[in-house]
Amino acid sequence: MKPLSPKPHLRPLTCGVLLLALAACSDSEQPSPESQGAANALDPSLEIPDPDDPVTNVEVVEERSEEVANRLLTFSDKLRRRDFTAAAEWLSESFHGHAFAPLEVAEERVDHLGLRHVRYDVETRTVTPGAGFLASLADAIGPWSAVESALWKVKGAEFQKGRRARWGKIKLYVHMTGISAEGDRTSLAGWGYARVEKESGAWMLTRFQLTSLDQSSRPGTVFTDVSAAAGVGHVGGRFGRGEGNDSYAWNGAASADVDGDGFWDVFLPSDGRNFLYMGRADGRFDEQARERGVLAPDAGTGAVFFDFDNDGDQDLAVGQIGWRAADGKLEGRTPLLYVNDGKGSFTENGAALGLSEPFVAYSLTVLDYDADGFLDLFLCSYGRIEAEHNNSWIQATNGSPNALLRNEDGKRFVDVAEQAGVRGTSWSYAAAAADIDRDGDVDLYVANDYGDNELFLGSPEGRFTEAAASLGVVDHGNGMGVAWGDLSNDGRVDLYVSNMSSTAGNRILGRLDADIGGETFKQLKKLAAGNSIFLANEKGGFEVLPSSAGGINASWAWSVALADFDLDGRLDAFCTNGFVTGDQPFDT
């Protein structure tokens, strides 16, 4: 395309942000010269004192914290939309805070893959009233053509006691990400304190103290979302609305070349229906669950492809949700076994193969535990949480029993969990198999919610011995996922365990420190600590990688995949994350 007119002479840039600030400052509701004079009299550090008589009741503090957190999430939502006029409604008329810009750079360094990290010198911050504060935020994210996310999260809180003294000191984590028109990405992450006061029934920000601010950026992107273009961009009903998408923790996935055409295919079990995406030569996929016999029934949890009958093709096992009744009896749906006809079409034949008993199977793992040449299935059984709660938060024992389905010559599956020593009743989410001691029999790690994880060492007799404690991989916590892979380039297989942690949980635990001592508190603290990496040592055991090494800081983590995404000869880690994200900004 040729220029349609001579290059016009542009006047010097008048920044929209500057105009916003000027316009906002002319607003009649902005602080009077007197109050701006008061700003000048403020301590420039804007240090917010702790309440001198703080509320100590944990429940009251958490209730108020959640009120403030939800207010700030709404504020965040306005920032994400760059609706600064609306965002101003969250600031008290007397608000003064540290501006996000301009700030001098304190440190700059280049990291892996050319990531550029900038640490700002917050000592160069300036104090400004509300309009200037919002203008500085607008300025900080001005170069972004799209704001990808904006979150102001309450990480801690103290509130002043007394009916009239409705104020609190909030520890805040500020996190915003954006994309330039050219597709380059930038993130801003900082910490600070806010003073909040209840004005006319709503929590308002009256002070904001910025204590750190970091920016990370990188030209281009690592991954590009091509879902829609590749024909897999399915978007279904809202979670929890009864629109065929009401499972909390299923949504498994499995990949194999089911029709032998040389392209990977993808099976997704789900609530309501299943999906089978067949890979094509042009890089796209065709959804053919119905045509290939795996569309129904519903309530699929996890799935695995494996050749159960050793005929050379990939058969498919699918877990379906089941539960344990009050009398302990297993009820609900049975696992399914779809037999491949060699061309990628399937016939379900589970009942004839002995899969007639229901299981609470959330994930499936394939292994030949007895080395008989036929692949067996380990089923991780959770609990039916809708009907029966876990009987402990730190060592629950009332989950449904795990199952080990022995494959008898490709003709029948029989549950041998009891005999094999793996019939635990923890709330098991996930397992991964590997021969970690290279002794010729397969070992199995099981990640359990609400308690300790287990490492079962295999034996030639097909009986497992639990050895998590002796090998140093108990990982007390809310286990969600597990993967084996060498993260330290010593040729030994290390262990990555994903765990659940939550902002609210850490907030509450932060307050319990004084009330609970010793081992119990340590255990509770571990519950909220996040993922774990265990490095195999030369003695056959494992050592936990210190959290300062990074690589573990997720939140409500689920699956993990270890792969060398940049092909530099070192395994990296990807982890899915988050429980439920609703349409509204409110969170718990």
């Binding site: 290059k7 929209g16 939309r81 760059r82 006029t85 892996h112 893959l113 001005g142 799209a146 996310s149 990400t177 990405r185 993130s187 690592v222 991954f223 590009t224 091509v226 897999v232 279904g236 979670f239 929890g240 998408n245 299923w250 498994g252 996935a253 499995a254 990949s255 392209f263 997704l268 890089g283 695995v304 494996f306 499936l364 030949d368 991964a432 010729g440 397969v442 996922g481 597990v482 993967a483 330290s488 380039n489 040729g491 297989v493 990688l545 689920w558 699956s559 270890l562 995404f565 092909l567 000869g569 070192r570 990807f574 982890c575 899915t576 988050g578 439920v580 994200t581 609703g582 718990t588």
Partner: protein, 364 residues
């Protein structure tokens, strides 16, 4: 904490006595989600790169794979056989299926792709450990079917070789036997059969996963922009028919906002294009409706006089036209973006960033 949130439920109230003590929390949680609340929501998927010094670099924010849609299972597989590992994520919220193409390609190293066939145990060699000797040291991976959380990876291992031209491979088979292969050449795809001692090359089928649809756009090249509903500077609903406005000329449909520096900067240039008369420029301001007056002031302040419309309510009883949301995703569209339409109103070009810059680039 669940209960306190549920007490804010907008659609249903209930007590422990009504639903029973056991179901109280779950009933509340279900109601919470029905009302659109989150519970540990907006927690984005994470990606850490191994620095090789015992530490990991968190690149989640900059990865392009940091979805907030509550990912569950993940497949890390080279779906397009181009040598690097892509991602397929099964997400909870709205049952989304997300395929992420790895765009690092081989910038940081070459690859070696391996499949196993056991002969002294079940042929799929599940549980085998494969060690590849790379310049970064030996790296071990395990053949697995069912790990992570509910995730069954494809039966192929992808190893990065950094700048090595080839690599030696050790396999520790489920039978207990160990065997070495190679060195195997960089960029190769091989089948390793137990006790054969020979790596058999596999013909590759590399193909590129397709390019994404333009971010934030719901129409692509060749599609016609229908008359849409927008608002004028007086907040009056208008039916914007670009064919009518252009009189058969090409149209530059520009999306801008007052908070966007590059957008504001190019307004005089767009005015000049419009005045030159060869094309018609029509703008849509993406500022929040609350900011309409401020945005109009900025628009006028930059000397722009071409038609400019604003966001507002999505429906109008009196004005016909599709909602802007059917043309663009208002929350995802990077700005400035300009759709270049031909005389018939079809999209012929999508300009990301300032128009002038794109015109200069095209002219070079």
């Amino acid at each position: 904490m669940v209960a306190s949130s549920a007490q804010k439920s907008q659609t249903e109230k209930f007590t422990a006595q009504e639903v029973g003590e056991t179901d109280y929390l779950h009933h509340h949680r279900a109601q919470l989600f029905k009302d659109g609340f989150s519970f540990s929501g907006n927690e984005r998927d994470k990606l850490w790169f191994n620095r090789g010094d015992g530490t990991f670099c968190d690149v989640s924010d900059l990865s392009g794979s940091d979805s907030p849609n509550d990912g569950r299972a993940v497949l890390a597989t080279d779906f397009d056989d181009d040598g690097d590992v892509d991602l397929f994520v099964h997400e909870l919220q709205r049952e989304r299926h997300a395929l992420y193409r790895n765009d690092l390609n081989q910038r940081y190293g070459g690859f070696l792709k391996l499949r196993l066939k056991a002969t002294k145990s079940q042929w799929e060699a599940i549980g085998a450990t494969v060690v590849v000797h790379t310049p970064a040291g030996p790296v071990a991976q395990v053949t697995s079917r069912g790990a992570g959380f509910s995730s069954c990876q494809a039966p192929e291992l992808v190893f990065g070789l950094a700048d090595a031209e080839d690599a030696k491979v050790e396999v520790h088979w489920p039978s207990g036997a160990s065997e070495t292969f190679g060195p195997l050449a960089r960029g190769g795809r091989f089948l390793l059969e137990e006790a054969s001692g020979e790596a058999q090359p596999i013909a590759g089928k590399p193909r590129r996963l397709p390019d994404p649809l333009p971010k934030g756009l719901r129409l692509g090249i060749g599609e016609k922009v229908p008359p849409f509903l927008a608002f004028d500077a007086g907040s009056e609903a208008r039916r914007v028919d670009l064919a009518e406005l252009s009189g058969g000329k090409p149209v530059y449909l520009n999306f801008w906002a007052k908070y966007c520096g590059p957008c504001v900067q190019e307004l005089p240039y767009l005015e000049q294009l419009d005045e030159a008369g060869e094309v018609r420029v029509v703008a849509v301001c993406m500022d929040a409706p609350n900011d309409l007056e401020l945005a109009a002031e900025v628009f006028r302040g930059r000397g722009a006089d071409f038609p400019n419309y604003y966001l507002g309510a999505e429906a109008s009883d009196t004005v016909q036209g599709v909602a802007l949301q059917t043309i663009v995703d208002l929350e995802r569209l990077p700005i400035p973006t300009t759709l270049v339409l031909d005389g018939e109103g079809k999209i012929v070009q999508i300009v990301r960033g300032p128009v002038e810059k794109a015109l200069q680039k095209d002219g070079e």
